[in-house]
């Protein structure tokens, strides 16, 4: 499934059954892949180190990602797994990546969501929060420089907005009128730090006027709302009007990483958000609209599960890199 299909679609987003199905498949696949990673492979000790998932935030990478054209650039945050799926990265490569096998996108040089592929125009995140913000501006500069109508999408969390790079990157993109869609997944926590200890303004969008760029806030758990906002943003950027900021209100339905029980989250808050689960909401709407029957949905989930079974098997068969690869690729030629 490739994005242009959507762009070509003329039906209104809310009436678009095919689009809804595509939303659901990607969101469900992201959820299933990450559950597998966090709740199975990690706990089985097959994945070592840090594991960060986007459970409850799937509507954001999916809703935004499906507005992109094939040659647009993605700079995912650490909770945007769906962006990789949308660009055709197979779950087996993702599992291999997390298990440090050669079948992963980094051949074991790096782990978890620290992956990218310029052939698919996905720029790998580095750990330093918001470091991708100026990098996305540079990628957008290149797209503009080459005279294309393509744009860059840059994703980050609420906490990342406190970094100097976030400020410098947005400001540079705004001053140079670069085609970047900046997407904040405001899940209201940065590790254990709640929004109120991260910023003294109410919303991330309150910062947009300081860069002279348009911004809007959407329900990040409503994939249709996210998608519509992203379309407006993309249109703005493609139109040569410069960057656009979208703030998606959501909630981190896990600990910060797999080892974190997140006891610092006030009782009830997560439950409250569980009721707003973006996948459940999408399914409910689709059934109500008679776009699919519940059993078709169940069938889709089964399909995905089976696909992932095979993917995990494939990944586990993928070998670890040979120690001799340690010195490779520090420079173009050693």
């Amino acid at each position: 499934m490739s994005a242009p299909a959507i762009i070509r679609s003329h039906k209104g987003v809310d009436q678009n059954r095919e689009l809804a199905l595509e939303f659901l498949r990607y969101m469900a696949t992201m959820r299933a892949v990450e559950d597998r990673i966090e709740r199975k492979l990690y706990r089985q000790g097959k994945i070592l180190g840090g594991v960060y998932v986007g459970r409850g935030q799937e509507a954001i990478p999916v809703g935004v990602g499906l507005t992109a054209e094939a040659d647009d650039v993605f700079c995912p945050s650490h909770r945007d797994m769906a962006l990789f799926l949308i660009r055709g990265i197979h779950p087996r490569q993702i599992f291999a990546q997390y298990m440090g096998r050669v079948g992963g996108l980094t051949r074991g040089k790096d782990g978890n969501m620290h992956m990218g592929d310029m052939n698919r125009r996905i720029i790998s995140i580095i750990s330093a929060m918001a470091a991708s913000v100026p990098v996305a501006a540079g990628a957008a500069l290149a797209l503009k420089y080459k005279g294309t109508r393509n744009i860059a999408y840059c994703f980050f969390g609420d906490g990342a907005t406190s970094r100097g790079d976030w400020h410098e990157g947005l400001n540079l993109a705004a001053v140079l009128k670069l085609p970047v869609v900046y997407v904040c997944n405001n899940n209201q926590y940065a590790y254990s730090t709640p929004l109120a200890k991260q910023m003294a303004c109410a919303n991330v969008v309150d910062r947009a006027p300081g860069y002279g760029i348009p911004a809007e806030m959407v329900d990040g758990n409503d994939v249709f709302a996210v998608h519509k906002a992203a379309r407006r943003a993309a249109e703005h950027a493609r139109g040569g009007k410069g960057p656009y900021l979208i703030e998606c209100k959501t909630f981190r339905m896990t600990g910060h990483s797999a080892h974190d029980a997140a006891e610092y989250v006030p009782a009830g808050l997560r439950e409250e958000w569980a009721a707003k689960d973006p996948i459940a909401r999408l399914e409910k709407k689709m059934v109500e609209k008679d776009w699919v029957a519940q059993d078709e949905i169940d069938h889709m989930h089964d399909e995905i599960r089976q696909e992932l079974e095979a993917a995990v098997e494939w990944a586990e068969k993928s070998p670890y890199p040979d120690a001799s690869e340690l010195l490779d690729n520090v420079y173009e030629s050693a």
Binding site: G108, S162, R163
Partner: protein, 323 residues
């Protein structure tokens, strides 16, 4: 009293905070959460929000605020969640903190704690050993404890020091090292190395987690009749050259060991001092065993190949001893 390396750091900080009301902590997730590694667990409860300050994700502002507070006479202890992120506050550290005293005579008595090092499957951004950059910056002091006692003694000295001190605590030692630690007001002086193992044939100069690797290698070679002396630098910037040179004069052979990458690492600096100042005492090449010049890879076989270990050290030491 028996405690882990991590508990020793916590105890040291706690004692200093009890002793001096001007000591306070700032960093990301150090309060309710107690820090990514729980080093500051319980601090918020004991000292309150005034002295245990959770900050936004702003390493440069964390360092900058620590500088401003220390200029005003407080004694901030700033935590970098991982040493890898210290690069985000780099300018404040090397240009502001390091140069105040020299430029205009202003003291900047602050500590930056940085959990560093590999061996925990952290990959390129959660495993680095950034100490050499700061050792190359005049005005900074840099320490890196290898034992629980030193961890406690050095954090206390760092907090009392009137210059900016970078305190690199090795993540792989946090819970692995457990030992008796002196009670109460015991400090380890900044600027003093320790001969942690006496030997005749060869000196290994090292620090941090590699002290344990050196010990393991030394025991292996002991059985082969090679007697190895180990110098634990403990302080890296503003270092104890005398102890290093004395050991080389004694054994005439030296192996420099660090987990940090080779080129531009502290081993080179030591080689420079040794080859200039005790050249006549050297009975063999100065050997360096370090990580190779690559980022820290994630996959277990790669990280294992990346990190120096006892076998690699023993092999080079054996070669040098025979030389």
């Amino acid at each position: 009293m028996q405690m882990t390396y991590l508990e020793a750091i916590r105890k040291g900080i706690q004692e200093e905070m009890e002793r001096d009301p001007d000591v306070f902590l700032l960093g990301e997730d150090i309060g309710i959460y107690g820090g990514a590694f729980k080093v500051t667990a319980g601090m918020l409860e004991q000292f309150g929000e005034k002295r245990v300050i959770d900050t936004p994700i702003s390493e440069s502002a964390i360092v900058g605020a620590a500088i401003g507070a220390s200029l005003m006479g407080l004694r901030p202890v700033a935590e970098m969640q991982f040493a890898d992120f210290i690069t985000c506050g780099f300018d404040q550290i090397v240009n502001f903190a390091a140069k105040c005293r020299y430029r205009w005579g202003a003291a900047v008595p602050m500590v930056i704690r940085a959990p560093s090092g590999g061996g925990i499957h952290g990959g390129p951004f959660h495993s680095q050993n950034p100490e050499a950059w700061f050792v190359h910056t005049p005005g900074l002091k840099v320490v890196a404890p290898s034992s629980a006692s030193d961890a406690k003694g050095l954090i206390k000295s760092a907090i009392r020091d009137n210059d900016p001190v970078l305190y690199f605590e090795h993540k792989a030692l946090y819970r692995r090292v457990k030992e008796d630690v002196p009670e109460g007001d015991f400090t380890v002086p900044i600027g003093k190395a320790a001969v942690v193992r006496e030997g005749r044939d060869l000196s290994i100069i090292t620090y941090g987690a590699m002290v344990h690797v050196a010990r393991e290698a030394a025991e292996t070679l002991e059985k082969e009749g090679v007697s190895i002396e180990i110098v634990d630098l403990r302080t890296l910037a503003h270092l104890d050259e005398d102890t290093v040179l004395a050991s080389v004069r004694k054994t005439s052979k030296v192996l420099l060991l660090h987990e940090d990458t080779l080129t531009g690492g502290i081993g080179g600096e030591l080689a420079g001092r040794i080859s200039e100042k005790v050249f006549e005492y050297l009975d063999g090449p100065i050997v360096r065993v370090t990580a190779p010049d690559t980022p820290v890879p994630y996959s277990p076989p790669l990280e294992e190949a990346f990190l120096p270990n006892a076998a690699k050290v023993a092999e080079r030491a054996r070669w040098l001893a025979r030389y």
